[in-house]
Structure formats: structure tokens, C-alpha cells
Symmetry: C2
DNA sequence: GCCCGGGTTGACTGACGAGTCAATCCGTGG
DNA sequence: CCACGGATTGACTCGTCAGTCAACCCGGGC
């Protein structure tokens, strides 16, 4: 049975080290040995747990994106106005960044926005999230909360794009950061995008 | 003087070939020899005109981004409402894509969104565009066209992010394309983002 | 005490591709 | 007709890693 199990989970250690290395040097510019060094393990051990360098990034991405998709699905099931749902989605993404900026940086920079290399392989998984947001908008359009002048598909892309660009701004130091900024960002994205989608907006 | 000038501009031919190759295979996955082959010139000639593989991409990016920044500056000088200015900016970007999808794909995928590799080097140039959009919003806020609840910097990022995400959707076949879609996209981005920014929105 | 097997090690290999360079071509001026 | 020099050629070099593998370590079962 479970022989040699009490040892710490080296696989996890390698994954965590990879996040730091990818965030610092980028996937393409780092060597597998950098990951091993950062993790404090031998080079070969990386290949004991992962089939290739790519698989390390794949694993990180799928782990995290799975959580996102799951979270959006749960949010969509709530019985609240679309605006609140979208606020919750924005909230989840922003909080993901707040909780682990390095991991989010890696996922956005190396996968989500790297549509030629990794994005291509995961395009379908990535668009799962887009489709879910689209679903939220569609329902809101059906029940009259949102106007139908803009297609749901388009609105979803605009919404997600706005958030991702803001995260990118943080990641590269173009936008002011801090607890306040994070909270404001959630409101602002929704304020900006939803107000444009809603059927009626009271004058301020 | 101008010896051997009548020959076609090989430099240009190489650049154009590079666009096709980068768009098809991606910058990292293509070889310099692929560019040379596509251009129908010898391998070494690429190095006669460019110092490195990177410099080819740099050149393509700077050429095009320069036009964008210039265009936004010109638009900003016009004496029209902010909404119209932003519509013109969206228009310019969408038309750039319509006019040369491959070049725009390369610029977005390999530079603008590749913040670790090339984006890093050009971060400043890239954000020139963001800053200009920010300027348009700031003026609109100053003269009361736009509300000040959302910072201009933030609005600029959201606006640009929304457009870029839509282009990305086209690039990877996630969003329906065609003349109609392009025209609608311009209106929709502005409709979506500006409506959320304006001080007063008439009921639909 | 001894064997078994999975965890762990790190030196080594093989492929690949950016960049070099000496040779060749060819238009122009004298 | 020749010499000059920039344009053009493509075979070759050289460094860099991703991935392999044979050996080693060590806990558990017998």
C-alpha cells in the first residue's frame, strides 16, 4: 500500500514553483531546470510527475480555469438580477487575482492571451467561460432586463475583455493597485458594461 | 548614387512574408528560414535587412502602432462629442483588422497580448494608445459629458479591452465575421461602454 | 538482514534553429 | 571592358535546452 507517502507532495511543490518561475521569467524564456531549482528538486523529477514542460502549464491552467467555470455556473444558478450575477463574476475574477496574482498572471499572459501557443490548445476550455457569461446575458435579454440591440455573444466578449484588460493593467503596473482599487474595479466594470446593456437607466 | 535601386523592395517583401508566416505559425514556432522561403529570398538576406528575428516583428509592430497612435491623436483634435471620438477610434481599429486581418492578428497575439515577450519591450509604446484614450475620457469628464464615478484611466482600459477581445474573437473564429459584424461591432462597443459613462442616458 | 519497487538524482544526448560569413552576382561609373 | 561595392546566396557553426536514462536512495514487507 501507500509506501513512501508521508513525504511532502513534491508534485505540488513543483507546480507552485512553476507558477513563480513562469510569472517571473515567462514560459518560453524559462528552462525546466529553473523550475526544478526553484522547487529544490532534481531536474528529472519534473519529468517523473509531468510528461513535458507544456504539461506543467496545462495542469496549472486547467486547475484554475476549472474553478472559474464552476464558479460562474454556480453564480448563474442564483435567483438575482443579471447585474448582480455579472458583479459576482467580476468579483470572482478580481478576487482570484488578489488571492494569487502570480498564478493569474501566468494564466492570462501565458494561456488566455497566448492564443497561438497555449490558447490554441485550450481555446475550447477558455470559451466555456465566455459562453457561460453569454448565457447570463441571454437570460437577461429574454426577461427584459437587458436590451437586445447588442448580441449576448458580443456583450460577453466585451465584458470579459474589459476585466481581463484591467487585470493586465495591474499585472504590468499600468493601473494603480490595492484593496480599494480592486473593489472599485468590480463596481466599475459592471457599472460601465451593465449600464450600457440595461433597458432603462435612471438619470444619475 | 542609387545603385541597384530599380529592383523590387526586398525588405518590404520580407516584412509582408513575415506577416503571413507569423499569422500562420506564430512567432515562436516559426523559423527564420520559413520567412525567407515565404518571401522567396535566401536565408541570409533576412539578416541583411534586419538585425535579428525579433527586429522583424518589432518593425511590423512599430509601423502599425504608430499609425494607430497618430490616428487617435488626430481624432482627439476634432471638435465633436466624446462618444463620436470613441466611435472613430473603435472604427479605426476595426477597419485596421478588416483591411489586414493577418497583420492585426500578429500585432495583437504576438505583441499587444504577449506582454512577457514582446509586450514587455513595447509596453511604453502600447500604453501610449491607452493614455490617449484616457485623455479623451478625461476631457469628456471635465466638460460634463461623462461622469466621474469611473476613473478615466479605468474607462480607457475597459474600452480598449472590449475592442481587443472582440478582435480576438474574430481572429480565433469565436465570433461571427463579415462586413455587417464589423459595422455593428463599432456601434456596440461604443453603445456598451459610452452609455455606461455618459452623464445622462435617454430611456430607449 | 535482505530484497523489492517507487521516489529521486543529475549527467548526457540529440535536435533544432538563430545568427555568421565567405563567396557570388550584377548594376553602375569610369 | 574593368573595377567597385552593395545585394544576395546558403552551407556551416555554435549554444541552448527538452527530454532520456541508468544509477542511487530508502522505507516496508518478509
Amino acid at each position: 500500500m501507500a509506501a513512501t507517502k508521508p513525504t511532502v507532495d513534491k508534485r505540488r511543490i513543483i507546480l507552485d514553483a512553476a507558477v513563480r518561475v513562469f510569472a517571473r521569467q515567462g514560459f518560453h524564456t524559462c528552462r525546466v531546470s529553473d523550475i526544478a531549482d526553484e522547487a529544490g528538486v532534481a531536474y528529472g523529477l519534473v519529468y517523473h510527475y509531468f510528461g513535458s514542460k507544456d504539461e506543467v502549464l496545462d495542469t496549472l491552467f486547467l486547475e484554475r480555469w476549472g474553478l472559474l467555470v464552476e464558479a460562474i455556473a454556480e453564480i448563474d444558478r442564483r435567483d438575482v438580477p443579471a447585474r448582480d450575477k455579472l458583479h459576482a463574476v467580476a468579483s470572482f475574477i478580481v478576487d482570484s487575482y488578489r488571492h494569487d496574482p502570480e498564478l493569474m498572471k501566468v494564466i492570462i499572459v501565458e494561456v488566455t492571451r497566448a492564443a497561438n501557443s497555449f490558447g490554441a490548445a485550450h481555446l475550447d476550455t477558455i470559451s466555456d467561460a465566455y459562453r457561460q457569461i453569454q448565457g447570463i446575458v441571454e437570460k437577461a435579454q429574454a426577461n427584459g432586463e437587458f436590451r437586445t440591440t447588442v448580441t449576448a455573444q458580443f456583450a460577453a466578449m466585451a465584458f470579459y475583455g474589459a476585466i481581463e484588460q484591467v487585470l493586465t493593467g495591474w499585472i504590468f503596473g499600468l493601473l494603480e493597485q490595492g484593496e480599494d482599487s480592486y473593489e472599485r474595479a468590480k463596481d466599475h466594470v459592471v457599472e460601465t458594461v451593465c449600464r450600457g446593456l440595461e433597458t432603462y437607466t435612471p438619470a444619475p
